[in-house]
């Protein structure tokens, strides 16, 4: 079956589900603030807020943002890591119809500045209490620091008076609720515009699939500056009235203590997170971890390998679920269902209300069971790339199909990803686009050209860079590694750099990466950074 619709519901029931959703993402808090005001909404090391306190904080923050000069249609860039300040500024901006631009504080100065310049941020705010990286960016941008109740210290960047607000869509659910930048294959970051409707469709559907209720306690370790952390974890928790335990970064020991002490019921992580738990258990000589309250563990963000899945299932004594998506799809396209666990690493059935089709290299729909490029259509598809109409048109066709550029096949209604048509590397659950890393390395004055490829290692992909220096150059691997450190976020930096005298090229001068990787396999250990 090469075309599928992920739902047990009828089209009418799906349409009704969309109509019944709140208008703005900030509205998910209101019903719980009214009916269960004392229920815990957000919990972190420094304190906790009930739904009433969160609603109040969102209201007060809207006033604060207005005094900072933020208008409807303005882009408000939030540089941070998971914490109450990040969530509140995000929801308050969305309530004002400003566009929250969500940025992981671990990005390099170059990456942060490119995003700030591209989106035309009216203000940049930094959650400096929980993030040394955000503190560094705030200092670099001459931000002032303000102490706010429940937020701790927040950095406030200068007002950009030259930017104009965007014109708002008439229909509230169609308005942009989050702008998330993802580096494109050209190395130029693209701003993915996700609407209130996109995010709420995903939050509501995810919560329903997992039967999330107010008794649930989510472990919030996936970055809320990324799509899964935003729609599935943050909004998926708040829309169901559950409690979310915010964690700025993953640490297996803290996770184990929190899962046990706080009786966490849902843990969503990347394969890298689950691999760290396996390494932790190995080093601590733990053969079994049992958390009686925990009812769902699920992986997404990168391909899950069988060894990680079986290792975690043995350690936890429960099924490790799997899911798949891309930022442009808010992000989930498919996930395994609690009632239909898989023993393989299939990404499960298509998300309810989402349509997919598989298209062969001839442009025709793939035959039953055949492999094809995965196209997606539904209420989860982004509004487009910000200020990039050509890129948007290349990604979404006239009938509304978004091309993931991933290759997949369907088996008994479950999707299996078999490869990628784009050469994305997923390292520690983060997307690394070779073109972006190459652009940085090529900018070094002693570099002729570079080629970046992914290399599969247990449960992960490593970034490997081949670099051709200028003839007679004294360039060293250490020097290049230091250069990469200055210009790239840590997860984008090559774990191995190989200096080569020449590269295999096509007649048009493009590096033949497959041949390059073969020529240097296995890589000389002496050149490992």
């Amino acid at each position: 079956m090469p075309v599928a619709r992920g739902s047990q519901m009828t089209n009418e029931q799906e349409s009704e589900r969309c109509v019944n959703l709140p208008g703005r993402i900030s509205d998910v808090v209101k019903p719980w603030a009214e009916h269960s005001p004392d229920q815990l909404a957000l919990v972190e090391d420094t304190g906790a807020w009930t739904y009433r306190q969160l609603a109040s904080a969102i209201f007060n923050t809207q006033t604060w943002l207005r005094t900072l000069g933020v208008r409807s249609g303005d882009r408000v860039m939030i540089v941070g890591e998971n914490c109450r300040a990040f969530v509140t500024i995000l929801l308050a901006s969305a309530a004002l119809d400003a566009w929250p631009v969500l940025v992981n504080a671990r990005l390099s100065p170059r990456e942060i500045d490119e995003t700030r310049n591209h989106c035309g941020a009216r203000r940049v705010l930094y959650t400096i209490s929980v993030s040394p990286h955000a503190t560094d960016h705030a200092k670099r941008h001459n931000a002032t620091v303000e102490e706010r109740d429940g937020f701790g210290s927040v950095g406030i960047g200068p007002l950009n008076e030259s930017v104009q607000p965007e014109v708002l869509e008439a229909n509230i659910p169609d308005r942009v609720a989050a702008l998330i930048y993802t580096s494109g294959t050209t190395g130029v970051p693209k701003g993915v515009m996700l609407s209130h409707g996109n995010l709420l469709f995903m939050a509501d559907g995810s919560a329903k699939i997992r039967s999330v209720t107010p008794v649930d306690r989510f472990y919030g370790v996936l970055p809320m500056s990324h799509a899964v952390g935003l729609s599935v974890v943050l909004l998926g928790s708040l829309i169901a009235g559950a409690s979310l335990y915010l964690t700025p970064r993953f640490d297996p020991m803290t996770a184990r203590v929190t899962l046990e002490k706080e009786r966490i019921t849902l843990l969503l992580g990347t394969p890298a997170v689950f691999n760290q738990l396996l390494q932790y258990a190995k080093l601590r000589k733990i053969s079994s971890l049992r958390f009686p309250a925990l009812r769902i563990i699920s992986s997404s963000g990168a391909p899950l390998d069988p060894a990680t899945k079986s290792g975690i299932e043995n350690l936890f004594g429960m099924v490790l679920h799997n899911g798949y998506g891309v930022t442009e799809c808010s992000p989930t396209i498919a996930l395994t269902r609690p009632e239909a666990p898989r023993t393989d690493t299939s990404i499960g059935a298509v998300f309810p209300g989402v349509e997919i089709k598989l298209v062969g290299s001839d442009g025709q729909t793939a035959s039953a069971g055949g492999v094809g490029e995965l196209l997606v259509r539904g209420p989860n598809i982004m509004r487009g790339y910000y200020r990039a109409p050509e890129e948007t048109a290349a990604a979404i066709d006239a009938e509304g199909w978004f091309n993931t550029r991933d290759l997949a096949r369907l088996e008994d209604g479950n999707l299996i990803i078999v490869g990628r048509t784009k050469d994305l590397i997923v390292h520690r659950g983060f997307n690394v686009y070779p073109a972006e890393v190459e652009a940085v390395l090529n900018a070094h004055p002693a570099v002729v050209r570079s080629a970046v490829v992914g290399r599969s290692v247990a449960g992960d992909e490593e970034v490997v860079a081949f670099v051709q220096p200028l003839p007679d150059s004294l360039l060293t691997v250490a020097e290049l590694a230091e250069y990469a450190q200055l210009h790239l976020a840590s997860y984008k930096r090559p774990s191995q750099i190989l200096l080569v005298a020449a590269m295999p090229l096509t007649p048009t001068g493009k590096v033949v990466k497959a041949e390059l990787a073969r020529m240097f396999e296995p890589a000389p250990a002496a050149l490992t950074t």
Partner: protein, 90 residues
């Protein structure tokens, strides 16, 4: 005997371990008050440090003790933590 180790010896052992394993031998990069977790070492490094402390000083370190900020915030804190552990054994 481990139980009679002086603070300077404990500190020397811990510093050497951190410098050799996480700072590529650059001793000057490790200040007494440098933030350890999330700074000098990452989350997996913290587990490796705990494994080292347990084997080198014959002590037991629980996860709950590692996540308490004052125990592992800096080299000085770790040294004080190990001293407390050793004195409670003595």
């Amino acid at each position: 005997m481990i139980q009679t180790m002086q603070t300077t010896e404990i500190e020397h052992e811990i510093r050497s371990y951190l410098v050799d394993n996480f700072l590529f031998g650059r001793a000057e990069a490790l200040r007494d008050d440098a933030s350890l977790l999330g700074g000098v070492i990452d989350s997996m490094g913290a587990i490796e440090l705990v494994t080292f402390l347990q084997s080198r000083f014959a002590i037991t370190v629980e996860d709950e003790e590692v996540v308490v900020p004052e125990n592992f915030a800096s080299v000085k804190n770790v040294v004080a933590f190990v001293e407390r552990k050793l004195s409670s054994k003595a």
